[in-house]
Symmetry: C2
Subunit: 366 residues, 2 copies
């Protein structure tokens, strides 16, 4: 720490980014990414011409990209804010609409970034406990005085709330902002987007990192009232006017327009998820019904931390959370059909070994 | 404005991004960009393989990129902070080391972003007047209590301070942070970088937008003590952990390593600048001696605003500033040899026309 760091940040908790080991090639199912390439249109978009013209600034208003997103989602360009990843979009939202000490509510089990931001920048966060079955009960939020942020589907559980319940929450108090983080919504088939034009207190955040196979490009966007988008743009222009570079926008425009490839990819992940869930259940796993591109599961035969370590030894990365309420489960990202087949074989082998060892242990004891 | 915007931001001044007209093709000399392509190595780096792997997050620690920058500048990776453009780097610096109400000093004539940031985020900024000849006299800053930010060379004048004076300023008070924005330093041949390892209160900010022909990629970096870089990274991880995407870092690594192409480009811009200055002086222009990739100049024959408008009609964009102390001058970015030849011809034609009109006016009056 330098002597210059502002006092408020002196007790910042260090953020721990997800594991990215490079000692060997892994099947990477620990960060809800995908080994599928982006749309073929993205390859075309990143042309020699685009690179040649790199000497000029890209449009800080991101007009063409916002229009492309607006066209696909049936809103106007003025209702679209684009950012350098959904995290940046979330940060600009929190920066614009929350000052130090202001109340914000979110579930105690959800995407960790909300807590990181709120703690670092001094928001008065309150974490509402999820139910025994990990579900978020929106009745708990109905009467809260203060803004709310929810991931729907939630992470790391994959559980989602119905649009009826979300609409009731948003409608309850027009002066309360409700931010719905829909990073995984394409895999649930349900979205709060149609509500945006009806409720000016609703902000929906989306990402290209999951369903568009572009985590490495860090593109996110928000859809909200044009007044909210105008505010976000003003804040952005005072912080980093050129937050999306030319190549990133060219890739984003090509990707968002290719709805055919997008639908194909989403459909395959949903199929792989349902098949993988069924296979896991056949071998005695409990699998929380996920609407996302991951499953949160546990086996009676082996504890999840051990399974995570053993899978890593087999070249497969999954995510185990140490938190008390999460430690019994393992989060496995849904990859390609081939990747899920390999994971399943590895899990079966690990379980067989564990059961052999157990038997051996019993025999020895006898 | 939405009802949700935090009060502090309600009077935000709208930032006005530089003109990017698209009604026709322009020779664009208004934003200190370049029509030269990035290093050929950048074309190689943005390969099919890189695009194919876009589904995975890039390294949020940016290790490989920071190491590449460190190697070129003779520092360690821990002394390099990389960001999504120099503006983002500056914002993370100001966010980490300045709270609302904290004093910051900069010249009254300099890069407009410092004022935008300071006003929006409530820093107690004080603008120190530059001298009659637009120079920044560092004696004015020696005894100031509070942190200082200086662009060196300065923008839009192109004037620069000596490293002796900068060192004296930095050395004067080890508890005062001095931020030197060296966006244009490659064109001056002087840099404060060697001072960083001697003075832990010095932060040097750099960009790929000028001398590396990559404005469209928005890459910036800071070199400072490892404690300062550690602070910046913590703040970054709480705001936008993945601030540089994979393609951007691949391009950045390729570009920074290609010192041969870089040297060639810088050398050609300096040559073009000196030739263009000499030609302007031949036709009666006053040209402030610039150490950057632009000249700040005025003609006795025509006022600068009119010249700017007429050049635009000829398909050439330059930058006129309306501020009282700047309005007599025109800032012209230094482009390729061909571009500067075209600009010079256009200026000569415009001057000839103006002188004809003047003569005609005199004749008519007689």
């Amino acid at each position: 720490m330098s002597i210059f760091l502002v006092d408020e940040y002196k007790n910042m908790e260090p953020y721990v980014p997800g594991e990215q080991p490079s000692d060997k090639l892994y099947i990477k199912l620990n960060a809800n990414e995908t080994s599928m390439p982006p749309s073929p249109k993205v390859f075309e978009a990143l042309s020699k011409k685009e690179i040649w013209n790199m000497g000029f600034y890209a449009d800080p208003n991101c007009k063409e990209f916002r229009q492309a997103v607006a066209d696909v989602y049936g809103v106007t360009e003025e209702e679209v804010f684009v950012g350098n990843g959904a995290d940046e979009v979330l940060s600009f939202i929190l920066m614009s609409f929350f000052r130090r000490g202001m109340k914000i509510y979110f579930p105690d089990i959800t995407y960790g970034f909300y807590r990181t931001y709120a703690k670092t920048y001094g928001l008065d966060m309150e974490e509402i406990p999820v139910k025994e079955d990990y579900s978020v009960d929106l009745k708990d939020y109905m009467d809260l005085k203060g803004d709310i942020i929810l991931a729907n589907p939630n992470n790391p559980t994959g559980l989602s709330n119905t649009m009826e319940d979300i609409e009731a929450l948003v409608a309850k108090d027009p002066e309360r902002m409700v931010i719905i983080d829909e990073a995984y919504a394409d895999y649930s088939g349900e979205t709060a987007l149609p509500l945006v034009q009806k409720y000016p207190n609703l902000v929906v955040v989306r990402t290209f990192s999951k369903s568009r196979n572009m985590a490495g490009m860090h593109i996110g966007f928000a859809i909200a009232s044009k007044e909210i988008v105008e505010d976000l743009n003003k804040i952005k222009f005072s912080f980093n006017p050129f937050n999306l570079n030319g190549l990133t926008m060219a890739a984003g425009i090509a990707a968002v327009k290719d709805t055919y490839y997008f639908d194909k990819c989403v459909k395959s992940i949903i199929e792989n998820r349902e098949n993988f869930k069924a296979e896991l259940e056949k071998i005695g796993f409990e699998v929380i019904p996920s609407k996302a591109n991951f499953v949160f599961c546990k086996s009676k035969e082996i504890d999840s931390k051990t399974l995570c370590v053993k899978l890593k030894e087999e070249g497969i990365l999954t995510r185990h959370f140490a938190d008390e309420r999460l430690k019994d489960y393992l989060r496995i990202t849904i990859g390609t059909e081939y990747e899920m087949m390999v994971v399943l074989i590895a899990i079966k082998e690990i379980l067989a070994e564990a059961s052999e060892e157990k038997e051996l242990g019993i025999k020895k004891a006898i």
